[in-house]
Symmetry: C2
Subunit: 88 residues, 2 copies
């Protein structure tokens, strides 16, 4: 018997890793006249809905997906969070 879970993955560049996308946004904001920007970091957000036997199983399956495909653990950190069971 499985339920459907909605799982969020927040993927961010690791501390000390160059973040060209964040740098570009930061520079563009300065060019547009925004002041007081100290840093901009750009990451990714992936939301997966999947069938699993429990919330723990959903989190651990998504952790494996991150290691194998979704994140690049050499340069990215990721945080997995099960948001909720989804009905149906």
């Amino acid at each position: 018997m499985t339920d459907t879970y909605s799982v969020d993955i927040r993927i961010t560049p690791r501390e000390g890793i160059l973040d060209p996308q964040g740098e570009t946004i930061s520079r563009a904001l300065g060019n547009l006249g925004y002041e007081g920007i100290r840093s901009v970091r750009a990451g990714r957000l992936v939301r997966i809905e999947l069938e699993a036997e429990s919330s723990d199983d959903a989190a651990s399956a998504v952790g494996r997906m991150c290691e194998e495909l979704i994140a690049n653990p050499t340069i990215e950190d990721y945080v997995v969070r099960v948001r909720e069971g989804v009905s149906g």
Copy 2:
């Protein structure tokens, strides 16, 4: 007198808008043998640290940045959340 605030922006494809990156991840996970995936949506996460007079001012400045540069409101939804004041 300003403080430094850390603000998160979660940018997601709007309901009904095609999400080729999410589709690609979903298909690749299936090819790797993962089962029970119902949907994958891919978005972006931007974290900005900036000087502002108050948490409300920080949120409203970042809202303007989203409209002007960071998000594409035609195809993306975004949520701005001030995480915390950052010391220094």
